[in-house]
Protein backbone atom coordinates (compact mmCIF):
# COMPACT_ATOMS: atom_id res chain seq x y z
CA UNK A 1 0.00 0.00 0.00
CA UNK A 2 3.01 2.27 0.50
CA UNK A 3 3.33 3.25 -3.20
CA UNK A 4 -0.26 4.53 -3.15
CA UNK A 5 -0.01 6.67 -0.03
CA UNK A 6 0.77 9.92 -1.82
CA UNK A 7 -2.11 9.63 -4.28
CA UNK A 8 -4.42 8.53 -1.44
CA UNK A 9 -3.43 11.61 0.56
CA UNK A 10 -4.13 13.91 -2.40
CA UNK A 11 -7.51 12.26 -3.03
CA UNK A 12 -8.39 12.83 0.64
CA UNK A 13 -7.05 16.40 0.53
CA UNK A 14 -9.26 17.27 -2.43
CA UNK A 15 -12.30 16.08 -0.46
CA UNK A 16 -11.50 17.55 2.94
CA UNK A 17 -9.61 20.61 1.61
CA UNK A 18 -7.57 20.40 4.74
CA UNK A 19 -4.20 18.67 5.17
CA UNK A 20 -4.75 17.57 8.79
CA UNK A 21 -8.15 16.04 8.02
CA UNK A 22 -6.72 14.37 4.93
CA UNK A 23 -3.91 12.87 7.00
CA UNK A 24 -6.40 11.45 9.52
CA UNK A 25 -8.56 10.10 6.70
CA UNK A 26 -5.63 8.30 5.08
CA UNK A 27 -4.39 6.92 8.41
CA UNK A 28 -7.84 5.51 9.24
CA UNK A 29 -8.33 4.36 5.66
CA UNK A 30 -5.05 2.45 5.69
CA UNK A 31 -6.02 0.72 8.93
CA UNK A 32 -9.42 -0.21 7.48
CA UNK A 33 -7.81 -1.46 4.29
CA UNK A 34 -5.34 -3.52 6.32
CA UNK A 35 -8.18 -5.09 8.28
CA UNK A 36 -10.25 -5.72 5.14
CA UNK A 37 -7.32 -7.12 3.20
CA UNK A 38 -8.71 -10.65 3.52
CA UNK A 39 -11.71 -9.59 1.46
CA UNK A 40 -9.56 -8.03 -1.27
CA UNK A 41 -9.99 -9.95 -4.53
CA UNK A 42 -6.60 -11.39 -5.59
CA UNK A 43 -5.53 -10.08 -8.97
CA UNK A 44 -7.74 -6.98 -8.76
CA UNK A 45 -5.98 -3.60 -8.94
CA UNK A 46 -5.25 -2.36 -5.45
CA UNK A 47 -5.17 1.38 -6.10
CA UNK A 48 -8.90 1.92 -6.86
CA UNK A 49 -9.83 -0.28 -3.91
CA UNK A 50 -7.63 1.72 -1.55
CA UNK A 51 -8.74 5.07 -2.97
CA UNK A 52 -12.38 4.07 -2.47
CA UNK A 53 -11.74 3.31 1.22
CA UNK A 54 -9.72 6.49 1.79
CA UNK A 55 -12.25 8.68 -0.07
CA UNK A 56 -15.04 7.28 2.12
CA UNK A 57 -13.04 8.11 5.22
CA UNK A 58 -12.37 11.60 3.92
CA UNK A 59 -16.06 12.17 3.19
CA UNK A 60 -16.93 11.02 6.69
CA UNK A 61 -14.65 13.53 8.30
CA UNK A 62 -15.15 16.50 6.02
CA UNK A 63 -15.94 19.50 8.18
CA UNK A 64 -17.95 22.02 6.21
CA UNK A 65 -17.37 24.85 8.67
CA UNK A 66 -13.69 24.08 9.18
CA UNK A 67 -10.76 25.81 7.55
CA UNK A 68 -10.92 25.21 3.80
CA UNK A 69 -7.63 25.45 1.99
CA UNK A 70 -7.59 26.52 -1.63
CA UNK A 71 -5.46 24.76 -4.20
CA UNK A 72 -2.35 26.71 -5.10
CA UNK A 73 0.02 26.55 -8.01
CA UNK A 74 3.68 25.77 -7.66
CA UNK A 75 6.20 27.77 -9.65
CA UNK A 76 7.66 25.50 -12.31
CA UNK A 77 11.23 26.67 -12.95
CA UNK A 78 11.83 24.08 -15.65
CA UNK A 79 9.28 25.60 -18.02
CA UNK A 80 10.69 27.64 -20.84
CA UNK A 81 8.67 30.80 -21.24
CA UNK A 82 9.13 32.83 -24.43
CA UNK A 83 9.49 36.07 -22.45
CA UNK A 84 9.12 37.20 -18.82
CA UNK A 85 5.91 39.08 -19.72
CA UNK A 86 4.39 36.03 -21.35
CA UNK A 87 5.45 33.90 -18.40
CA UNK A 88 3.55 36.24 -16.06
CA UNK A 89 0.45 36.15 -18.28
CA UNK A 90 0.71 32.37 -18.46
CA UNK A 91 1.01 32.03 -14.68
CA UNK A 92 -1.91 34.40 -14.25
CA UNK A 93 -4.01 32.39 -16.67
CA UNK A 94 -3.23 29.15 -14.85
CA UNK A 95 -4.03 30.68 -11.47
CA UNK A 96 -7.41 31.82 -12.83
CA UNK A 97 -8.10 28.35 -14.18
CA UNK A 98 -7.27 26.77 -10.83
CA UNK A 99 -9.43 29.31 -9.01
CA UNK A 100 -12.30 28.54 -11.39
CA UNK A 101 -11.88 24.83 -10.70
CA UNK A 102 -11.77 25.47 -6.96
CA UNK A 103 -15.05 27.34 -7.18
CA UNK A 104 -16.99 24.52 -8.85
CA UNK A 105 -19.52 22.45 -6.87
CA UNK A 106 -17.80 19.53 -5.12
CA UNK A 107 -19.06 16.77 -7.42
CA UNK A 108 -17.75 18.58 -10.50
CA UNK A 109 -14.56 19.86 -8.88
CA UNK A 110 -13.60 16.37 -7.72
CA UNK A 111 -14.22 14.61 -11.01
CA UNK A 112 -12.02 17.09 -12.89
CA UNK A 113 -9.36 17.16 -10.19
CA UNK A 114 -9.12 13.36 -10.03
CA UNK A 115 -9.02 12.97 -13.79
CA UNK A 116 -6.68 15.81 -14.67
CA UNK A 117 -4.74 16.96 -11.59
CA UNK A 118 -4.15 13.46 -10.22
CA UNK A 119 -4.29 11.71 -13.61
CA UNK A 120 -6.55 8.96 -12.26
CA UNK A 121 -8.17 6.66 -14.79
CA UNK A 122 -11.95 6.75 -15.24
CA UNK A 123 -12.20 3.51 -13.24
CA UNK A 124 -10.11 4.91 -10.38
CA UNK A 125 -12.09 8.13 -10.42
CA UNK A 126 -15.32 6.15 -10.29
CA UNK A 127 -14.00 4.13 -7.33
CA UNK A 128 -12.89 7.23 -5.43
CA UNK A 129 -16.21 8.97 -6.06
CA UNK A 130 -18.28 5.85 -5.41
CA UNK A 131 -20.08 6.17 -8.76
CA UNK A 132 -20.15 4.30 -12.08
CA UNK A 133 -17.72 4.92 -14.91
CA UNK A 134 -20.58 6.26 -17.04
CA UNK A 135 -21.33 8.84 -14.37
CA UNK A 136 -17.69 9.92 -14.39
CA UNK A 137 -17.90 10.52 -18.14
CA UNK A 138 -21.12 12.50 -18.06
CA UNK A 139 -20.13 14.43 -14.97
CA UNK A 140 -16.76 15.29 -16.51
CA UNK A 141 -18.44 16.72 -19.58
CA UNK A 142 -20.82 18.81 -17.48
CA UNK A 143 -17.98 19.94 -15.21
CA UNK A 144 -15.87 21.07 -18.18
CA UNK A 145 -18.83 23.04 -19.46
CA UNK A 146 -19.28 24.68 -16.08
CA UNK A 147 -15.54 25.36 -15.83
CA UNK A 148 -15.62 27.04 -19.23
CA UNK A 149 -18.41 29.31 -18.01
CA UNK A 150 -16.73 30.06 -14.70
CA UNK A 151 -13.40 30.75 -16.37
CA UNK A 152 -15.12 33.05 -18.86
CA UNK A 153 -16.70 34.98 -16.04
CA UNK A 154 -13.34 35.41 -14.35
CA UNK A 155 -11.62 36.60 -17.53
Amino acid sequence: MRPHQEIAFRVAYLITRNAADAEDAVQDGLVKAWRAFGRFRPGAPMRPWLLHIVANEARNRRRSAARREALALRASPGEAAPSPEEAVVDADERARLLAALDGLPDAMRLVLAYRHLLALSEEETAAALGVRVGTVKSRSARALEKLREAHGLRA
Binding site: W34, R35, L73, S76, L98, H116, R148
Partner: protein, 80 residues
Amino acid sequence: MDFERELSALDVAWPETPAFRLELPQRRRRRLLVAVLVAAAVAVGAAVAGSSICAASPSSASSGCRRRRSARSAPGSARW
Protein backbone atom coordinates in the same frame (compact mmCIF):
# COMPACT_ATOMS: atom_id res chain seq x y z
CA MET B 1 -8.83 26.83 -24.96
CA ASP B 2 -8.41 23.12 -24.34
CA PHE B 3 -9.41 22.93 -20.70
CA GLU B 4 -8.55 19.27 -20.27
CA ARG B 5 -5.01 19.84 -21.51
CA GLU B 6 -4.62 23.02 -19.47
CA LEU B 7 -5.84 21.29 -16.31
CA SER B 8 -3.48 18.37 -16.82
CA ALA B 9 -0.57 20.80 -17.24
CA LEU B 10 -1.25 22.61 -13.95
CA ASP B 11 1.46 22.12 -11.36
CA VAL B 12 -0.45 22.15 -8.09
CA ALA B 13 1.41 22.83 -4.84
CA TRP B 14 0.13 19.86 -2.89
CA PRO B 15 0.77 19.72 0.84
CA GLU B 16 3.61 17.38 1.72
CA THR B 17 2.47 13.79 2.11
CA PRO B 18 3.01 12.68 5.72
CA ALA B 19 4.68 9.37 6.56
CA PHE B 20 1.94 6.88 7.35
CA ARG B 21 2.45 3.85 9.54
CA LEU B 22 0.23 0.89 10.26
CA GLU B 23 0.98 0.74 13.99
CA LEU B 24 -2.45 1.42 15.38
CA PRO B 25 -3.98 -2.07 15.20
CA GLN B 26 -0.82 -3.67 16.61
CA ARG B 27 -0.82 -1.26 19.51
CA ARG B 28 -4.50 -1.88 20.18
CA ARG B 29 -4.02 -5.62 20.03
CA ARG B 30 -1.01 -5.42 22.34
CA ARG B 31 -2.95 -3.28 24.81
CA LEU B 32 -5.82 -5.77 24.77
CA LEU B 33 -3.42 -8.66 25.32
CA VAL B 34 -1.76 -6.87 28.26
CA ALA B 35 -5.18 -6.09 29.78
CA VAL B 36 -6.27 -9.74 29.46
CA LEU B 37 -3.00 -10.97 30.99
CA VAL B 38 -3.27 -8.51 33.91
CA ALA B 39 -6.89 -9.50 34.53
CA ALA B 40 -5.95 -13.18 34.45
CA ALA B 41 -3.03 -12.59 36.84
CA VAL B 42 -5.30 -10.69 39.25
CA ALA B 43 -7.91 -13.46 39.14
CA VAL B 44 -5.31 -16.17 39.76
CA GLY B 45 -3.75 -14.11 42.56
CA ALA B 46 -7.12 -13.60 44.24
CA ALA B 47 -7.94 -17.30 44.00
CA VAL B 48 -4.56 -18.31 45.47
CA ALA B 49 -4.85 -15.76 48.26
CA GLY B 50 -8.39 -16.93 49.10
CA SER B 51 -7.45 -20.59 49.30
CA SER B 52 -4.36 -19.87 51.41
CA ILE B 53 -6.45 -17.88 53.94
CA CYS B 54 -8.86 -20.81 54.30
CA ALA B 55 -5.97 -23.25 54.65
CA ALA B 56 -4.26 -21.08 57.27
CA SER B 57 -7.31 -20.67 59.55
CA PRO B 58 -9.47 -23.78 59.37
CA SER B 59 -10.83 -23.30 62.91
CA SER B 60 -11.97 -19.72 62.48
CA ALA B 61 -15.75 -19.75 62.89
CA SER B 62 -16.22 -16.35 61.45
CA SER B 63 -14.35 -16.97 58.18
CA GLY B 64 -16.30 -17.28 54.97
CA CYS B 65 -14.60 -20.48 53.90
CA ARG B 66 -15.51 -22.14 57.26
CA ARG B 67 -19.12 -21.15 56.81
CA ARG B 68 -19.22 -22.38 53.26
CA ARG B 69 -17.58 -25.64 54.24
CA SER B 70 -20.05 -26.25 57.06
CA ALA B 71 -22.97 -25.31 54.85
CA ARG B 72 -21.84 -27.78 52.28
CA SER B 73 -21.40 -30.60 54.86
CA ALA B 74 -24.49 -29.88 56.96
CA PRO B 75 -27.03 -32.69 56.73
CA GLY B 76 -30.32 -31.68 55.23
CA SER B 77 -28.91 -28.54 53.75
CA ALA B 78 -29.19 -29.82 50.24
CA ARG B 79 -32.07 -28.41 48.26
CA TRP B 80 -34.33 -30.67 46.32
